[in-house]
């Protein structure tokens, strides 16, 4: 499906290796090592999915998730963590994360989550388009 993915993790070796493996599986992957840069990239480019590490210096995963959802509600977010707790998982899902995966990750689980995320985004975009058309039809009184 050629998903456009942004990978965000402060561990450079992790993010670059994972990106290389995802690219060989047909995904278009951009990477960054900070939450602040991720927000800038989300403003500048269009992504289907953002894969975010929970613990990062500066803007952490949960904060980045909140800000991404505020700016671009249609973008789907998958959170990664090296130390999953039920509380953090619940918080992430409440803030709109689609999945919460524990490191070391299983690439097939992540790929599955990304496919699901793109499908969810497409449904949201279709709904939004439908709403817009309805609104235009209503205002034009056709």
């Amino acid at each position: 499906m050629n998903e456009k993915v942004l990978l965000v993790d402060d561990e450079e070796e992790f993010v670059e290796t994972l990106a290389e493996r995802m690219r060989t599986r047909g995904m278009k992957v951009s990477t960054t090592n900070s939450g602040a840069d991720a927000l800038q990239l989300v403003d500048d480019e269009s992504f289907d999915v953002v894969v975010l590490d929970l613990k990062m210096p500066g803007i952490d995963g949960i904060e980045a998730l909140k800000r991404i959802k505020r700016r671009r509600p249609d973008i789907q977010v998958v959170l990664l963590t090296g130390h999953a707790t039920i509380e953090k998982g619940v918080e992430a899902i409440k803030e709109g994360a689609l999945e919460f995966l524990e490191k070391p990750i299983d690439l097939s689980s992540l790929t599955e989550a990304i496919h699901k995320a793109k499908a969810t985004k497409m449904v949201l975009v279709e709904k939004e388009t439908e709403e817009r058309i309805k609104e235009i039809l209503h205002h034009k009184s056709w």
Partner: protein
């Protein structure tokens, strides 16, 4: 408060456990991150092997590069485990002469990840074999940890906290430097500082704030030396 006070002992135990838990959580998190990198590197090697099987020509240096990176991650993980092991074994001994450069270096290493998360650097500025102290190393590590936790949000614009140490007539002085707005009210070692204060009392120490120089100052006296070290 005296060191034989059961309330004091309880606070010391609780603070020791809290400190050990904090360090274990941080180290396990760091090891997991290293394992995550190794996992991806191994996966990449599998991908390369599959590509070679299907007839693609791959530069062997690519495999050698990934193998080298896996070895580097294992070396880093081993170093982290080594630091945790040294901390764990420090519980065994008390009343021994320790090299403060060594002990402060270990605590700084253990706090590396927490400092990075707070976007600061902790710098141990104690030359090896220059300052020694007779004390309980585990409790002192916990006390230094409490001082780091207190000082971290107060690090000035340099974003570097320096920990220095010097000998004095009956012990040693440890200074946490480059702190902005540090005051006497900080010497209670934070809102939940009862445990750290109990350790301070047990080690015969005193903490003060030097606002003019931006320092939290920890003064410690030599404890009674025990041959070979023993349980406190």
């Amino acid at each position: 408060m005296t060191t034989t006070d059961p309330v004091c002992w309880r606070s010391v135990s609780e603070e020791g456990l809290r400190f050990f838990g904090e360090m274990s959580a941080s180290v396990s998190h760091e090891i997991r991150n290293k394992l995550a990198v190794i996992n991806e590197k191994a996966g990449l090697v599998q991908d390369i092997a599959l590509a070679m099987k299907s007839g693609r020509s791959i530069d062997p240096d690519r495999l050698a590069l990934q193998a080298g990176k896996i070895i580097e991650q294992i070396r880093k993980a081993n170093q982290i485990v080594g630091a945790l092991s040294r901390l764990a074994h420090s519980v065994d001994r008390s009343g021994i002469r320790i090299d403060l450069a060594d002990l402060i270096g270990l605590v700084v290493e253990l706090y590396g990840r927490k400092a990075a998360q707070a976007e600061i650097t902790i710098d141990a500025a104690v030359p090896a074999d220059s300052v020694s102290l007779i004390t309980s190393p585990f409790l002192l590590q916990g006390l230094i940890g409490a001082c780091i936790n207190l000082s971290m949000p107060r690090v000035d614009d340099s974003r570097i906290m320096t920990i220095a140490a010097e000998s004095c007539s009956d012990g040693a002085v440890i200074r946490f430097q480059h702190l902005a707005g540090i005051s006497e009210s900080d010497t209670d070692l934070g809102g939940n500082g009862a445990g750290a204060r109990a350790i301070l009392a047990m080690l015969g120490g005193r903490v003060s704030a030097d606002g003019r120089h931006g320092e939290l100052v920890l003064e410690l006296t030599n404890q009674e030396e025990r041959e070979g070290g023993s349980q406190p």
